[in-house]
């Protein structure tokens, strides 16, 4: 048993903190084969039990061992359409890799990195399929082009439906395009995936907002027989503290959208960006890490303020590690109480120190404020990365689409059936902010059910 992973090549932290190119360079063929050899091919497949879409991990890894990358990719694509994405962004350490038997004694097999290798190999070596199946003429509409929408559309097209994806923005890909930065997920990968879908006959209409431009009735009039809503999570949350209305306070979504979707950091693009020399990012998830590392790449000194400790950070371990290497300054057990300003612009964040207490019902430690611990961190911008709440365009739709207790779309079975006729939903629009793989899995399940019902 080889206890240590084959190291994956990465850009030097000093260099990469000034560019937007991908941080992790991935395995080459020889490295992938070496890493694959560490897999014991366990009969009971404990790793598979923790993959939300049950990829047959030992099976695709077996083909890597045999240097049969083509079969490896075929095996992988039985279960996932977004291997190149999930291999990069899945929180593997709490999913598949957390159950790898090797992790008891040493390091888990680098399942994510191997998945990425296989999908990248396929993208580089195999021309995209262009076999458009005869479609049955039965029309299905998909709302939103994030991972849930894309995977649902892809499966339905393969099953012979006439699928149109309606996207509100001017670019396709959802969070993969406007949220997750280039240095973590090159946009070329997302584009490739979308081109594949186009080549098998999926139609895309951009700049169309469901609930505004089109609605249930207009889609029915256009002859759509079923509908999958994958509109993602909604409005960014703010803390509701004094000073949040000052100039220089942004949501992470705004900041990342300006950077990723609008390319505001590139002078050739017209969208402006206003990020100071010292930036505070509030939050501890992937969104917070992405905002912090993007601000860093734009030349700022970045403080990441989180109210618990490093152990509780919800972000992927790899991102936290990378953020630290690049020079993001983590400020733990600290909570913003007020944003202070001067002439209407941010001047600093007034914070209090926090302490961890007893775990609550959910097992998470409660935090409480330490009296008299107020102090000011001087910054000129504050980026809030606090999660999202449901988007009113969807929740205020006037029809019989029932919502759940968090105001997200309510589903009545595992396949995303909603209370509205012939309508399914999945991804963040149902679960609230979650993960790419869960969104993809939801899209595929709904595709299956839609196909069964329309057959």
């Amino acid at each position: 048993m080889i206890l240590e992973r084959i190291k994956v090549r990465e850009q030097d932290p000093k260099v990469r903190s000034t560019n937007f190119e991908e941080v992790c360079l991935g395995y080459n063929e020889a490295e992938a084969v070496e890493e694959a050899k560490r897999c014991l091919g366990c009969k009971s497949k404990p790793c598979v039990s923790k993959c939300p879409v049950a990829i047959d991990i030992p099976e695709f890894i077996k083909y890597i061992k045999e240097e049969n990358f083509e079969m490896a990719s075929e095996e992988l694509f039985k279960h996932t359409s977004l291997g190149a994405v999930c291999g990069r962004v899945c929180p593997q350490e709490v999913q598949c890799e957390s159950k790898c038997v090797l992790s008891h004694k040493g390091e888990a097999v680098a399942i994510g990195k191997l998945e990425r290798f296989v999908a990248d190999w396929h993208r580089k070596n195999k021309p995209a399929s262009t076999t458009v199946r005869e479609n049955s003429g039965k029309k299905v509409a998909v709302i939103g082009s994030g991972p849930a929408g894309l995977s649902c559309a892809g499966d339905l097209a393969k099953k012979g439906f006439d699928v149109t994806v309606f996207e509100a923005l001017h670019e396709l890909g959802g969070v993969l395009t406007y949220g997750i930065p280039e240095f973590r997920l090159p946009k070329e990968i997302v584009k490739h995936e979308i081109n594949n879908l186009k080549s098998i006959g999926v139609k895309f209409e951009k700049n169309v907002v469901f609930g505004r431009t089109i609605n249930f009735q207009s889609l029915e009039e256009e002859g759509f027989e079923s509908l999958f809503i994958a509109s993602g999570a909604g409005l960014p949350k703010f803390l509701g503290i004094e000073g949040e209305g000052l100039n220089g306070v942004f949501s992470a979504n705004e900041f990342l959208t300006r950077a990723n979707l609008m390319r505001a950091f590139d002078d050739e693009y017209e969208t402006p960006m206003q990020i100071g020399n010292k930036v505070a990012v509030v939050g501890g998830g992937n969104v917070a890490m992405d905002a912090a590392r993007t601000a860093l790449r734009l030349g700022a000194e970045v403080y990441l303020i989180y109210r618990r400790t490093e152990k509780e950070l919800p972000a992927r371990v790899e991102e936290v590690h990378h953020a630290k290497e690049e020079g993001v300054k983590f400020v733990f057990l600290t909570n913003p109480a007020e944003i202070t300003g001067e002439d209407g612009w941010v001047k600093g964040v007034k914070c209090t120190k926090m302490q961890l207490g007893e775990p609550d019902d959910s097992g998470r430690c409660r935090v409480s404020t330490i009296e008299g611990s107020e102090h000011i961190i001087e910054v000129d911008s504050v980026i809030m990365a606090l999660g999202t709440r449901a988007n009113p365009i969807i929740t205020e739709l006037k029809n019989d689409l029932e919502l759940n207790e968090w105001n997200n779309i309510k589903v009545f079975n595992d396949n995303g059936k909603t209370s509205a006729k012939n309508t399914y939903a999945g991804g963040d629009a149902v679960t609230g902010a979650a993960t790419v793989i869960l969104a993809m899995g939801a899209g595929r399940k709904s595709a299956q059910e839609i196909a069964n019902n329309l057959a």
């Binding site: 700049n207 431009t213 089109i214 960014p236 017209e270």
Partner: protein
């Protein structure tokens, strides 16, 4: 790509465009706006839907050339194409849903400068539904009073006020409101004011004193316009609202205008800030 089918200069810096966008034309209602991105590397800018023709499949916008994108747009002509238009965005005006309750009310519209563009479809919609309203159009001078002819066809009475007296009454829209209410003794149940923030602020202060409910249409900086980014947030009655999905129309007596005016300067270079304020103030302070 969306084709410009008609372009017309309304004054020196204000122009109207009809753009082919059948899906938007089909679903647009008064009070809503579009987001336009002119070309590949352009920014997303919000513009109110000034009119729509469902048959022709076009929407009209009335634009004031103030900066990079709107100036570039001014150079575009009939037959040219705009890369992206999304909409209709925002909620339609409240009176559309509450029309039954509104029918017997007296409404006064107050349009400042390019604010005539969003006011026009509202007045027209009400006219088409059998309700004629009064409209005040304000501008610095006669050439900045736009859509007066169009408005006259659908309104009960159109009153004009210019700062320099070159058209209509000499004075600001707030002076005209005073005149109508105090001198002519008119009674209004609702004022709908759309124009520069500073104008809406002073109209709201005045109508609060006069005890008339007031709706204003906010125009904060926006990016996506779909409720995803939070750039457009405004404080209304101590709550954070997102103008692109909760608005753009809000209760004028609850909006924090000072914050909104400050936030609208986020992307102005600091030295330009004073000049910008001065420009706006001249024309519409009450």
């Amino acid at each position: 790509m969306y084709r410009i089918v008609k372009k017309k200069q309304l004054s020196e810096k204000i122009f109207l465009m009809n753009i082919e966008a059948p899906r938007i034309a089909k679903s647009a209602l008064p009070g809503q706006f579009v987001i336009i991105k002119l070309h590949e590397k352009g920014e997303r800018i919000p513009l109110t839907i000034a009119d729509y023709d469902r048959e022709e499949g076009t929407v009209s916008i009335v634009v004031q050339a103030v900066g990079g994108s709107t100036q570039r747009m001014e150079t575009m002509n009939e037959g040219d194409h705009i890369m992206d238009i999304a909409g209709p965005l925002g909620k339609p005006s409240d009176f559309i849903e509450e029309f039954e309750e509104m029918k017997d009310k007296k409404i006064l519209f107050v349009a400042g400068g390019v604010g005539s563009a969003p006011v026009y479809p509202q007045v027209k919609w009400l006219h088409e539904h059998g309700m004629d309203t009064d409209v005040i159009i304000g501008g610095r001078s006669a050439d900045l009073v736009i859509l007066k002819e169009e408005m006259s066809k659908v309104a009960n009475e159109v009153y004009v006020a210019t700062d320099d007296g070159s058209l209509g009454m000499k004075g600001r829209v707030t002076d005209m409101i005073d005149h109508l209410v105090k001198v002519e003794g008119k009674k209004y149940d609702l004022v709908i004011a759309i124009g520069p923030l500073i104008m809406m602020k002073f109209v709201a202060l005045q109508t609060k004193e006069l005890g008339i409910s007031t709706v204003v249409s906010m125009n904060p900086i926006m990016v996506d316009g779909t409720g995803m980014c939070g750039a457009c947030r405004v404080t209304v009655g101590d709550k954070i609202k997102f103008a692109c999905v909760d608005g753009p129309e809000f209760d004028g007596h609850l909006v924090d205008f000072d914050e909104a005016m400050r936030r609208s300067t986020t992307y102005k270079e600091k030295e330009k800030l004073q000049q910008f304020k001065a420009e706006e103030c001249q024309c519409h302070r009450g």
